[in-house]
């Protein structure tokens, strides 16, 4: 009620109104949609989303003349510039356009301008956007067969039916703000739209999906272009939690997230959350193992999250990505995964090569190394063939295909599994990955079993990278280390950014590499064949401006094979702290891993511990029927099981 704020807002807006009619494009001209106030229309749209709210707040304080001046000289031309002036920005299915639609729609509601509101909801009728037009990230402007645009089209096309956002959680965190702010304005002003019920309550679903795509510390999985460290605590997620709590059923589980956020909005939604917490209503949002589909029909692959807990209730979390390309911000990383525990990353995803808003690093924008490294396949934990990235690193190829789910198994919390296939990342190559997360009293922490099969039409070099997070302690293969000179590991597709530190050639069909991180010992135990090479490399080559992190990577290379199977067991087996200086269980307890059987149809692998424990994991690679009975003989033993996967403990 203090007028001084209204006066401040009025005077500022009038100053903008004076300037805007003559304002040229921003001089940077670096964007596919250059703004006027900022370097890209996106930032102008951000501005209008916030300023619409400010205008709404002082609307009745202003004189009619002032309103007329503001609308005629500032808001209408501003909204026209973001829409008619930039159809390639306004008429996309993309987080940018969500901001644009919301900005135009929100100012339309304040101005009671039904033409603009219609434009915001349904897009421009005609846009004349060429089919092959791309944005700054090389993403297509138009989706294939896209006939709709505007806010409702965003709701229809940005999400899978279960709320997964195809660009990934980092960008959903960003887009959820205009989705919900404009959504709320529509609740208040266009109740007949019933926007929160739209598409089976897709906005609510998307918020829950966002909250689930987090590691044990509440940090979003940094898949696709994403800066690490973004979390539940982000202001946009506070907005999301408070609004969904207030408008969508007052789910007490959300209050636990609000408690972690330790902040609420200064409006009726935040007040409701704060009061509910104060009155002891908070329940706990249980993050279970989950499968999300991708694609607006849910048929373009997906994302699997496996969560398991050790006896101290510390979480191990595995996320496997077999999504669609994810548009311009997508990475070329079919069938990749990342692993977390309660201390953070164990097997990391690099995230984006960007220091968001930090001027010294390329003005805070995406860095060249984002394209040349962070997006490339070798920067991820999945197979690279012939040192070329999936889909040759081309968005237009990547957008045509997505992997297929084979099975997802979360009915037994002690034996979780996911299996998916990709037949398109490389022509003539079929890849299938099956990942299991097993909790068992014989292991201190849940064990990862990773079975990655590759079948190619001709002999190829196959590299299996593991971005272990920590310091190398030992390898069972003798290493030949490049002690007095370093060269890049390759020339293209991200390899040019890896310094080749060492190679080893395992002389046994079994290899172990142990590392130390965050007070813990980890070992990856792998099957190997004659001719296999173990490579240790590190980021930072061909990086003139020190943009990259110098993280280590372990690469299992098969130089020339048609069919390959990479079996890897990841064990978190011990701890050490520098105060006690006592290592507890510093060595792996897994003592052997063997392939008992492998064909296109079935794979059986075994692992043993020195204490005599032996497990056999049997996988039906083609048949995902839960009820199918399988039987086969391997090494004179008959194996029988039901369903796509089974773990036999001996």
């Amino acid at each position: 009620g203090d007028e001084k704020y209204a006066i401040y807002v009025r005077d500022m807006l009038l100053a903008y109104a004076k300037m805007y009619p003559e304002l040229p494009l921003h001089p940077t001209k670096r964007s596919y949609a250059t703004g006027k106030i900022f370097w890209q229309c996106l930032n102008d749209a951000n501005w209008l989303v916030y300023v619409s709210q400010a205008y709404d707040c002082i609307y009745h304080f202003l004189s009619e003349q002032e309103r007329e001046k503001l609308e005629k000289d500032l808001f209408k031309p501003f909204a026209d510039f973001l829409s008619i002036g930039n159809p390639q920005f306004f008429n996309r299915i993309h987080n940018h356009s969500t901001w644009a639609n919301a900005a135009v729609g929100m100012i339309a509601i304040v101005m009671e301008d039904s033409v603009l509101l219609n434009r915001a909801l349904y897009g421009l009728q005609k846009d004349n956007i060429p089919e092959d037009l791309r944005d700054d990230d090389n993403g297509f402007i138009k989706l294939k067969d896209q006939n709709e645009a505007g806010f409702l089209a965003q709701l229809d096309h940005s999400f899978s039916p279960d709320g997964y956002f195809t660009e990934g959680p980092y960008y959903l965190r960003y887009a959820i703000f205009p989705f919900l702010k404009f959504g709320k304005a529509l609740v208040n002003n266009q109740p007949e739209l019933d926007i929160l019920a739209y598409r089976d309550s897709i906005l609510k679903k998307s918020v829950y999906a966002l909250l689930h795509q987090t590691d044990p510390n509440g940090l979003f999985f940094p898949i696709n272009d994403a800066q690490k460290g973004m979390s539940w605590r982000a202001r946009e997620v506070i907005t999301a939690v408070d609004n969904i709590y207030y408008h969508c059923g007052q789910d007490a589980d959300l209050l636990s997230i609000a408690q972690l956020q330790n902040r609420v909005l200064l409006d009726e939604t935040g007040m409701a959350v704060a009061k509910a917490i104060q009155s002891g209503k908070a329940a706990s949002l249980k993050l279970n193992s989950m499968l999300f589909t991708d694609g607006n029909n849910g048929d373009e692959g997906g994302l699997a999250i496996l969560r398991s807990f050790n006896e101290n209730e510390n979480e191990t979390c595995l996320v496997m990505k077999f999504t669609a390309q994810g548009m311009g911000h997508g990475h070329f990383d079919k069938l990749t995964y990342a692993l977390y525990d309660e201390t953070g990353e164990v097997i990391q995803d690099y995230g984006s090569a960007r220091w968001v808003n930090i001027d010294q690093k390329g003005g805070g924008r995406y860095l060249p190394e984002n394209k040349t490294f962070a997006k490339q396949t070798v920067a991820h934990n999945t197979v690279t063939i012939n040192e070329v990235s999936h889909f040759e690193g081309k968005v237009e190829k990547g957008e045509k295909h997505s992997p297929d789910l084979h099975f997802f198994k979360a009915d037994n919390k002690d034996f979780l599994a996911i299996s998916a296939r990709d037949n398109h990342a490389y022509p003539g190559v079929e890849m299938q990955r099956t990942l299991a997360l097993v909790k068992d009293e014989h292991f201190r922490n849940p064990l990862v079993i990773d079975v990655f099969r590759v079948s190619a039409d001709t002999e190829k070099q196959m590299d299996f990278p593991l971005w272990f997070h920590g310091h190398l302690l030992s390898t069972s293969a003798t290493l030949k280390t490049n002690v007095s000179a370093l060269k890049p590991l390759g020339e293209k597709y991200g390899y040019q950014h890896l310094w080749h530190e060492a190679s080893g050639f395992p002389d046994q069909p079994f290899h172990q590499m142990t590392w130390f991180a965050n007070g813990k010992f980890f070992t990856v135990s792998s099957t190997t064949e004659k001719g296999d090479e173990i490579i240790l490399a590190r980021g930072g080559a061909n990086d003139p401006n020190f943009n990259l992190r110098h993280d280590p990577v372990y690469i299992h290379r098969k130089s020339s094979v048609k069919d390959a199977i990479f079996i890897n067991i990841i064990e978190s087996h011990g701890t050490y702290n520098p105060v006690s200086e006592i290592p507890l269980s510093p060595f792996a307890t897994v003592s052997s891993v063997d392939i008992l059987y492998d064909s296109g149809k079935y794979t059986i692998v075994s692992l043993s511990k020195e204490n005599g424990l032996k497990w056999e994991l049997a996988i039906a690679n083609l048949n995902n029927s839960e009820t199918a009975n399988h039987s086969l003989e391997a090494n004179g033993v008959i194996y029988k099981w039901k369903g796509p996967i089974t773990l036999i403990k001996k």
Copy 2:
């Protein structure tokens, strides 16, 4: 009182007694004093310190025959082996021998064996140790002019008069346990010695000195050979705090440390601490800026700790080392310093190249890279000349000299300073470093001003390394980065372990390098001259077993100079977190640094901020009188001040 434990101890000891008489030396034969049970006598002595207590506990439970058997076959020969059998181990002034003396003395007290007790207190009468005998770390066994040995000699020679332990806090933490355990046994059994009052209560002083040699998180400064992460929480420090509290005046300040430790001993001392805390007696141990002398007469240099606090009471802590060599575990790092804030290291000391007790890394012992890298000068934040370490990296040379304090100023908590000189690390070279830590409302955090003067008899290459902890953001010099091949920076004295990543040649007399770490922005602003080179390098070269951390270092090189002055301002100017993505003050506010005057007698430097602030720091390099008046003209301005250092704010 439960006999089962007594039975267990008895049976175990009898089994040892059966084995011991025939036990040969441990087969490793890797130590200057190989043990029988373990690879070194030190570990055997550890064993006996603990087992003496066990024997004491069950002494009256045992039959006379059992005692006779244990003493004749196990304890007496064990004590003889540690002393007469290994004079080079027993008759030193060293943490090893403290364990040996305590072990022999403690078992002597249980057995009431006055011959052994005398030996423990006063050493072997004759040892025939050759004067140039060295231990595994290349330290001398005998100190120069050492005529005493035994526990009392340790108390006389291991500490400076104010309790500084010449090997540094990591090893004091280790040695304090036998010092206090045997000390306590002497309190109980030889009260006439009045051991806790010995040498003006040196044991009590040493515990306080230990507690003060910690960063803002309670971690010991990792000077000399030291594994990082060791802290107040160590079991030995719990023993020290509880015992000194109980036996030395019940200082309520110590209770605050006990609270941080969150553990007490299960004896009368721990009980007293717990009860005192429960009854609300805990006060807070205030860690002030401190100067410790080194050398048992306090005349062999020292260690200065400067502590300053920003407006949020977050600490910035600077430790400058100008101690004696520190025996075999000493590093060649005269006039080095390290910098900490509340998040941890800002300018780091490498510590030791060792993974204590982690078998995969050289059995957990010191690694070869400890000698070839961690001890060398370039691994520290001090000047290296002609790519040779101080004293050519030779302990016998290093032990002959120590630097001299010029002045220490802590009377004004907003302007702390330390200045020291070294004239021996290089023949014909005089080095003087003056470090100031300044708190002022114009800077968000205390500012470090570092003035390092070097005067040589002939032209030499001078390298000034800064082991900044974090990720390089920018340099004002254009960098020529080695993008497609890396070579080591040099061949010897640690340089062979540095990959040469980039060089730049500042074209202005002022250079800035900004880095990011732990959510903060830091900048070092330096004066430069024509021909100066900025080198970016990183640890890890010539490291076949991945023993080293791959940490970055910034080196300011002057290729051929007789007199050099390195002026560096270190500013912690801003913050960023990945949740808000908003950088606050990402650029340095210091805009220029100039040398206004420099001679052997005086140095005046100035620094400016863009807002017009200008400071001048005047130093009297030779005269440390607090009352001397100084006056000189520089650039037409007359400067007048009193005392060795002054900061003029304009």
